[in-house]
């Protein structure tokens, strides 16, 4: 029995070693070597002493934070309303549908919408505000990035809300809590796991967006992804590119640790969670 079980592990292990562990080791190895293949900490030193890179890191962090905040603000109410609707499957499908379309296509669609002769500006001109510069601004970058990330925030929150035992909400009402108190003391704390999962799913990819920074942000928004692309494609300094990659990975681990701690406690409070689903 035990033998067959470990036999079935083989493909999974092979997958993880080949496509998760090996690339990570390669990135780490590249970051610790220079172009001649010698071991060195030079890359990390360059990174830590360069104001450009540090500023870029702060930029990435800041924009990722903004994108996460915007998507969270939109997604939580959406998921909450969704969980109270009829035909939830249909609405859910409509939310997932855009993720089936290629990212680049969606971005190009936004160019058509936001450009000087685009639909949005035609509308603005029609109502008398006149055409505005929409592309290549912080606003358009946040808009497009948030639009792309929203489904990944809604889904985990929605799942958490649906799993919430309605009896708990009823109990809270019975005990005299107002709607607001029920939400802040019962609903939100019990669905925080979904929020955390959503933050992980949005914040981490947002750190290294680079296609959108160029196409929509016109490189007026610079994040670490831009620098990685440059080091791999233009200067061919893979070591430096990998170093920035390592910095991103470290940032991701920190984010994971920050959003993972309470998971065990929650399960103790709600041992019947699995059954209610």
């Amino acid at each position: 029995m035990k033998k067959t079980r470990s036999f079935f592990m083989v493909p999974y292990l092979a997958w993880i070693i080949l496509f998760v562990i090996a690339p990570l080791i390669l990135i780490l190895y590249q970051s610790l070597t220079n172009n001649q293949g010698q071991w060195t900490l030079q890359n990390f030193q360059t990174y830590a002493t360069s104001w450009t890179y540090l500023k870029m890191t702060l930029n990435s962090f800041w924009y990722a934070l903004l994108i996460t905040a915007v998507t969270l603000l939109i997604s939580y109410p959406t998921a909450y309303i969704l969980s109270k609707m009829k035909r939830q499957q249909l609405w859910l499908l409509l939310i997932i549908l855009p993720t089936w379309i290629n990212l680049l296509l969606k971005t190009y669609a936004f160019i058509g919408l936001l450009s000087r002769t685009g639909t949005v500006n035609q509308f603005l001109a029609f109502i008398g505000i006149g055409p505005r510069q929409l592309l290549f601004s912080d606003f358009s970058f946040l808009l497009v990035a948030s639009y792309i990330e929203i489904p990944f925030m809604i889904l985990p929150i929605y799942n958490a809300i649906v799993q919430l035992d309605p009896a708990l909400v009823n109990a809270s009402r019975d005990l005299g809590a107002t709607n607001f108190q029920t939400f802040t003391k019962v609903v939100f704390p019990l669905t925080i796991s979904g929020v955390k999962a959503g933050i992980q799913a949005v914040f981490i990819p947002s750190l290294s967006l680079f296609m959108i920074t160029r196409l929509i942000g016109g490189n007026r928004v610079i994040t670490l992804g831009t620098a990685i692309e440059e080091h791999f494609l233009t200067t061919m300094n893979w070591g430096m590119g990998s170093t920035i990659g390592v910095v991103l990975i470290v940032m991701m681990f920190i984010m994971m640790m920050l959003t993972n701690d309470r998971k065990k406690k929650r399960q103790e409070v709600l041992p019947n969670e699995e059954k209610t689903n």
Partner: protein
Amino acid sequence: MKKLLSLSLMILALCGILWFGSYHLSQSQGAVTTQNTLNLYNWGDYIDPKLITKFEKQTGYHVQYETFDSNEAMFTKIQQGGTAYDLAVPSDYMIEKMRKANLLVPIQTKKLSNFKYLSKDFLNKSFDPHNRYSVPYFWGTLGIIYNDQEVKASEMQHWDDLWNPKWKDQIMLVDSARDIMGLSLISQGHSVNSTNLKEMVAAQEKLNQLSGNVKAVLADEIKLYMIQNEAPIAVTWSGEASEMLDANSHLHYVVPSEGSNLWFDNIVIPKTAKNIKAAYAFLNFMLDPKNAAQNAEYVGYATPNEAGMKILPAAIRQDKQFYPPASTIDKLEVYQDLGQTKVEEYNDLFLKFKMYRQ
């Protein structure tokens, strides 16, 4: 589970059938061997497909056309040597880099009967002295493209005109460190190949002053945006410009007379080549004035083939935008490979400029 299993089996079976079919097809087209195949590694849409058919008919070789979208990607692939490319089309600085990395096979130009048709202006450049390794394919410049609905011709003749406060938030730049740093260097009277850190820093500081005028720093998208009138001014290469001019008659292209970059895409024989004979046949075929002219008309870039140029329609031949006067050509500079350290310095300074906000 059962459904999933049968579905995946079906997909696998379908793939097998398709593979078998394609194998059969390629077999029936006559066995493809290294003896009669020419592997051409070129930029996308950078040759008139009719010329390939003509070449195949004339010589009996089968041309395998593969494309790349950046010099660096091509370099990596040839260095790793998976495919036996017989010919590749790198740009100037990349030829120098490949030459230094021993990735090129010398070309005996004496064996090319049509080599004499090339203009002397485009031979024996610093990246490949005496054309030992490369044969010019197309050339071009870096310049300014503007929209005559918003910009008068007299207002946009020199690099310094870009700094005019009138163009606040109006200019799009091409996302290339050497080119943008280069235009700033030229405007200060320095060489685009400067390795003097002081000059480079001064160029970057001058660029910072431009940052208020810059609307965006983009790559290929400039084409789309200029055609749609998103911005009135852009800095880009002549090849891109010629496509934009075709699509929007309000656009004009200017090569500043104080100097600019002169770039080349040359054909080389990489170390991976297996069929040198076919490579020479193709080189000679492309150097034939008639073929060169036909190719230049299709691609829209400037041909270095003097005899071929004479066959081109007058409207193309006399277009000062793409065939600038000799006085300007004299001032154009070719990029040299400055070595890893300097390339990184250029890129770091450029990155600093991109991050600079007024």
